[in-house]
């Protein structure tokens, strides 16, 4: 469970309301694949990932990023039950996709960088701290069903 103060919850939801979830998803996933190139191994079927430009303009990366961030959005509506919200996805990532859960933390941190870029001055240390709690909570929830 993620423990956010009332102020943190308010910061998180008011900022999220201004996020273009589809675009930010593609940007975050693209940056993950560029900054941590070994993560490309999970996306062999995505085609050309050979350069940063290729990754960022790849339609499959954008589509998958959109999917990922829409899931994350669901999490934000259920901060009191992240483990329940992400139970099925956790099983999928463990049993079918075989993703090392460490990668969820990497994506969480990349997302925080993307939000900082988009929000600028508004992404204060307090806002960042609130989002760090959320991404850590989501990463833990996704790792929860691993065995």
């Amino acid at each position: 469970m993620v423990h956010l103060t009332a102020e943190e919850k308010s910061l998180v939801s008011s900022m999220w309301g201004k996020v273009n979830v589809d675009e930010v998803g593609g940007e975050a996933l693209g940056r993950l694949l560029i900054v941590y190139p070994w993560t490309q191994r999970f996306f062999d079927s995505f085609g050309n990932l050979s350069t940063p430009d290729a990754v960022m303009s790849n339609a499959k990366v954008k589509a998958h990023g959109k999917k990922v961030l829409n899931s994350f959005s669901d999490g934000l509506k259920n901060l009191d039950n992240l483990k329940g919200t992400f139970a099925k996805l956790s099983e999928l990532h463990c049993d079918k996709l075989h993703v090392d859960p460490e990668n969820f933390k990497l994506l969480g941190n990349v997302l925080v960088c993307v939000l900082a870029r988009h929000f600028g001055r508004e992404f204060t240390p307090l806002a960042q701290a609130a989002y760090q709690k959320v991404v850590a909570g989501v990463a833990n929830a996704l790792a929860h069903k691993y065995h």
Binding site: G30, R31, I34, V35, P37, P52, V55, M56, N109, V112, C113, V114, A116, R117, H118, F119, G120, R121, F123, P125, L126, Q128, A129, Q132
Partner: protein, 142 residues
């Protein structure tokens, strides 16, 4: 992953752009680290850690100077950071994982202030540079 020629050029160019403001950003990175990762405050029991603290600002400048020196010695980061590594490992006993938290907060700080400059390729180069710095600092641990 080793720093390529492009990585080095990108980091040097960004550092030239940051100019004399590296201290400001390193200070903000420290503030963000303390705020997001409160366990790191344990290394500074003797500091006033409230926002705007002169001690944090002074320490931010120290961190900035070390990073600027690192940028000037990209060909030999372990050598350039050896003394700082020994200090952080043996005297200050910093958990090596915590260097990465400060690196992350520095990336966040630069993304917030220089959104146009922090494209994906720059993000990757900066992340690599900071990973090499933390590696060099942590290599003296344990």
């Amino acid at each position: 992953m080793a720093l390529s020629g492009e990585d080095r050029a990108a980091v040097r160019a960004l550092w030239r752009k940051l100019g004399g403001n590296v201290g400001i950003y390193a200070t903000e990175a420290l503030e963000r680290t303390f705020c997001s990762f409160p366990a790191t405050k344990a290394y500074f029991p003797h500091f006033d850690l409230s926002p705007g603290s002169a001690q944090v600002k002074a320490h931010g400048q120290k961190v900035a100077d070390a990073l600027t020196a690192a940028v000037a010695h990209l060909d030999d980061l372990p050598g350039a950071l050896s003394a700082l590594g020994a200090l952080h490992a043996h005297r200050l006993r910093v958990d090596p994982a915590h260097f990465q938290l400060l690196s992350h907060c520095l990336l966040v700080t630069l993304a917030r202030h220089y959104p146009g400059d922090l494209g994906p390729a720059m993000h990757a180069s900066l992340h690599k540079f900071l990973s090499h710095v933390t590696s060099a600092l942590a290599s003296r641990c344990g």
